[in-house]
Symmetry: C2
Subunit: 269 residues, 2 copies
């Protein structure tokens, strides 16, 4: 198991508070000591930092905790290796260009037989199941469209692709094209949305508190997705296994075709 | 104009000394204040740092100067924007996966009409001529081979492709697939090889000296390519316009089909 952290916001937002909690789980409060990585979307670009060192002891992670990169979409991961040795090329998030956009992907879980899924033009650099799954996903998307589809079309296509991966084992994952952050719950994933009136939050993994009211403006909307809740004084919602979220500008929507959407429709009917 | 820095070594080597000189040219001793980037190959992976801030004033550049990443191949760049606005996505080195390898590319110069060159599957994320040239190069390579060719085959193909770009203007460039560092001189590029007996070197741009004898073992071979020599007490060789180098494990070879090779052959004949 690894831990995931994703963020979507309507204004460039500093992820350092949440990242501090995640980084501690990489070898200190958690066993995920086999590397970590974080990608920040900025404009059309994406800046990614990877380190095969445990995040709790990584010089680079310490530097990033002191370095205010503001972003609207963040994809981060701390790794506990199960398939694929501890090495830079096996460190999430993985990145690839498709249709002139930088795509990012991070995953936790195990996927039996994923390497039998046929690939398009994107090929793994490392040896993880996760990177193979990412390359397969991009190949499936590229087989459907020759140019960047609208967010709405991607929203419609991704839940079924995620379900196919989920059928192979545990598939908790984050995927972004720089417009939308997609989050899929295979087993464990929680989400929280912060908006006015902002309160205080305290990290579960570190004696660190933040007063969001002092850090934000009243119009800010920021959502954070994580394998396990990162704070103790906020209301995190646990996703239903099979549920896919689309996060845009901080707003969270459960996608049709994913598990919770089916349950919600049923309850309405 | 921008400035390039490349390194090839037979053992993982710390680039910080040379990077310190380059970083100063990004807005202090040089006018290249429109961002910078550096890629380090480690195993099969490549770790890349990008920053649209001037390197001389960049927090991230200061952090990297304190952070000993050891690598066999490094590709670095400080930028002075001429085409493409100052933005993360326009910051070199550009990276793409091809045949399961992370490729890196950095360029200085201007290429008239390069955007008319047809692209394969790799598409620019930003708006620079350089990224378009990189995507075109990868498309040309992919049209020739369906799987990773040997270094020898790439050595044979690249000089002609570089010449086609050179015909469009000034093309000083670094390209790597993680096995070889290719360096092409359009106008200005210099190279130095450090091997036993190692001496001292002093940066031209900063009052910083290094005693390589204390930092290396007798078997180390390290070559550095840069737009302009970085040190004052070493013998840098200026490349001939049109010359392409292949650097592997610190050893430098001028490729057949490139300008100096033709001159050398002529002199022998």
């Amino acid at each position: 198991m690894c831990e995931l952290l994703g963020m979507s916001a309507n204004v460039p937002t500093d992820i350092r508070f949440s990242f501090a909690g995640l980084a501690r789980r990489g070898g200190e409060t958690g066993p995920h000591a086999d590397g970590w990585g974080i990608g920040f979307y900025e404009g059309r670009g994406c800046r990614t930092f990877h380190d095969p060192e445990p995040s709790a002891r990584s010089d680079l992670a310490r530097l990033l905790r002191a370095y205010p990169i503001k972003s609207r979409i963040v994809v981060a991961h701390v790794r506990r290796a199960n398939r694929g040795r501890v090495a830079l090329e096996n460190t999430h998030p993985f990145g690839r260009e498709l249709w002139g956009r930088p795509w990012s992907f991070a995953h936790n879980g195990q996927l039996a037989g994923v390497k039998r899924l046929p690939l398009g033009r994107h090929r793994p650099i490392g040896t993880t199941d996760s990177e193979h799954a990412f390359c397969w996903l991009l190949g499936e998307l590229e087989a459907r469209w020759s140019a960047l589809p609208s967010p709405r079309r991607l929203d419609a296509a991704l839940p079924a692709l995620f379900r196919r991966l989920g059928d192979l084992g545990v598939f908790n994952a984050l995927l972004s094209d720089g417009r939308t952050l997609y989050a899929h719950c295979g087993k464990h994933l929680s989400v929280v949305t912060r908006r006015a009136p902002f309160g205080r939050a305290t990290l579960l993994d570190e004696d660190l508190q933040v007063d969001f009211a002092a850090e934000t403006t009243p119009n800010d909307v920021v959502s954070v997705v994580a394998t396990r809740p990162l704070t103790r004084d906020e209301e995190w919602r646990e996703l239903v296994p099979g549920e896919t979220l689309a996060l845009r500008a901080g707003e969270v929507a459960t996608l049709p075709g994913s598990a919770r959407a089916a349950a919600l429709t049923k309850n309405q009917g």
